[in-house]
Symmetry: C2
């Protein structure tokens, strides 16, 4: 007897609506949102982008609107390869595959690697949208704890000893979403070593790398051991999320399957968006724009951190991100962020309860994620004050 409608087993995995209900509440424009992960759209250089679209029409003509190749727009692949090359590793344009947002690159990785029941090691907490994406392929999640300098290496080693058949490790090394934590250089080297020794591949999800506000840029794990890493980048944070542009760099024997999977998923990525990104990243306007955004985000992060200090009860603690978009807050065991959510919405402020960032449902109710890029410093201060009140200050 078929179910009605006769849907796939995986479909039950994507039916959870709790988080969707939370994001629905965000549509109210009077709400102060510390929930999303949006860039500060009020600083978008709209006139520059419009002018560059005109340049694209002159340079590329009908090519902007015709079918393109699955691998991506050659000019954008070259620009990204150049930006992604480091003193340790030169990336060739043909190694870069453009995707419809970084989320699509995560989806393609899961698609080519995961059979139902396959094992994947994740940071706990981890990016909730990646959890949903992986769930489409019905894996078994193995969570390992985060420390202040990134995921626990010992916990990963123990997990691999316990589960030698694990296929993938999924990490967000820079200013992790949701924790804001950055993986230290020592731990990056330890993971590269581990990848060299074990039969495990790494998905290195790195959308925030260029949003560093303090400290020094750290080399990617990909640059240390490219033959075992699917590196995923995004243009959503340094250009525009609405354009849906991401990319991956993977060993050739994996890349060819991910390209075939992309062809069977969305054929290729929007061409005009790829051309505009090319022209913007090459333009004189790009560097000042990125530094203006970083300056603004630094101020907003500082406001969030001082407001938490100023208004929150002393039994709460939070991370000190060197970049990215998020601060992770932990309350006392008695605190329940999931239950507090509706009170916060009623008070006029939104956040994301931490429980949604864990593979194991219904845990870590005393945590929440707070974003600092999508609202002005003034709103952030006001939002934290309201939230602190709801949280018992």
């Amino acid at each position: 007897m078929k179910a009605n409608p006769p849907l796939a087993t995986r479909t039950k995995n994507i039916s959870s609506s709790a988080i969707r209900e939370i994001f629905k509440a965000l549509k109210d424009p009077s709400l102060i949102s510390l929930a999303g992960g949006s860039p500060a759209a009020e600083f978008f250089p709209l006139q520059t982008w419009q002018d560059l679209i005109t340049v694209c029409h002159q340079k590329y003509g009908a090519r902007l609107y015709q079918y393109g190749i699955t691998e991506g727009f050659d000019e954008l692949k070259a620009v990204i390869a150049h930006r992604q090359s480091s003193h340790q590793l030169t990336i060739q344009p043909e190694e870069v595959i453009i995707t419809t947002g970084a989320q699509s690159a995560i989806e393609l990785s899961a698609k080519v690697f995961l059979d139902a029941g396959d094992k994947i090691i994740l940071e706990a907490p981890t990016f909730l949208a990646s959890l949903k994406t992986f769930l489409l392929y019905e894996p078994q999640f193995l969570s390992v704890e985060m420390e202040s300098d990134g995921v626990s290496i010992q916990a990963i080693e123990e997990m691999i000893s316990l589960h030698p058949d694990v296929k993938l490790l999924y990490l967000i090394p820079n200013f992790q979403n949701p924790s804001g934590v950055t993986l230290s250089l020592e731990k990056r080297k330890a993971i590269a070593q581990l990848l060299a020794e074990k039969d495990v591949y790494l998905i290195e999800d790195d959308p925030y790398r260029e949003l560093r506000y303090d400290g020094e840029d750290l080399p990617s794990i990909h640059s240390m051991i490219p033959e075992k890493v699917i590196y995923i980048g995004s243009l959503s944070k340094i250009f525009s999320p609405g354009m849906r542009l991401g990319y991956f760099i993977a060993p050739p024997e994996i890349r060819k399957f991910m390209v075939a999977a992309k062809q069977a998923t969305d054929v290729h990525t929007n061409i005009l968006a790829q051309a505009l990104a090319t022209e913007f990243l090459l333009s004189e306007e790009f560097a000042p724009y990125l530094s203006q955004m970083k300056k603004e985000y630094t101020a907003r992060r500082n406001t969030l951190l001082s407001a938490l200090q100023k208004y929150f009860p002393s039994e709460f603690s939070w991370t000190q991100p060197e970049g990215g978009m998020f601060v992770w807050c932990t309350g006392p065991e008695s605190f329940n962020a999931t239950e507090t959510y509706s009170k916060a919405i009623a008070a006029g402020v939104a956040f994301v309860p931490g429980t949604f960032f864990y593979a194991e449902e219904g845990t870590h109710h005393n945590t929440f994620r707070s974003n600092f890029t999508g609202s002005s410093s003034e709103k952030i201060e006001q939002g934290v004050k309201l939230l602190a009140h709801v949280c018992g200050a």
Copy 2:
């Protein structure tokens, strides 16, 4: 022992490279291509589109570049709902979900419906990219033969009797890719009846509907029985394939899962593309553009059909499409289109061997697909002449 790299079972399904090698040959610009399915880019109204992008910047501002909602740009949903409504059926904007090309809508349908081994009935031949997309979900294909007025109803009925657990039926009712055949009104009614009686859903893939050159528009099967149909449309044929815009309309209990799957696949579709499509479809320029394209395609189809008649050996036959982009050619049993391919390339003309459009590999070598939209009438005539020579004329 894990394979190295330890890829998923499905990945072996997408590794076939024969068709990719064929499309690679098409990069040679001196080749006359009857192979692809591209629109006539030389008629793209580039200045109009550039001007409308300026209008979009004025009307929508930063919204063009910020995150959007998964379901799509509200204004485009409304325009499509209006165009898609018929005297039989009114479509509401919230019923239309925008996807990253129609291919993505096919992928999402497969994703929410198909467990490995699930059965899906297909026309034989059918669209080769859909075969690749379905293969990602490891189904069992059940092929039913095409007749000159569309798929055989009797063959479908027999297939369902034989396989009562079949989940899906996949049809391209208008000017089918690759056959060019259109499903008759009587057969559409018969399929609607069959869907009403059986526990089977239909994926109605309808990208070419607006490219009709002769005869009367026929109602979609979706308009007859919307509760059992996932209707898929495309803007690639009437606007631009490079924009990657498609859509689906599905019953609410399926739509919600396909939206959740889309969120976990590419988050949402490019916003600027959706805004530009909205403005173009609403503009005064759209109707004259579409009729110009149809006039040109009519001429090209007529050229292809007369050239086949003029140059091809009498033991070849071909379809007489009332619209769309393709003519399907069948040679005598002794003819092998797959083997002829390299000779044709050497002679300067490309086509697609028919065998790639069948779920069962290595069959129907005496057939091929010929496109008439991507080359000028002059080139088509020249190409058919060259091809006829290679085919033994």
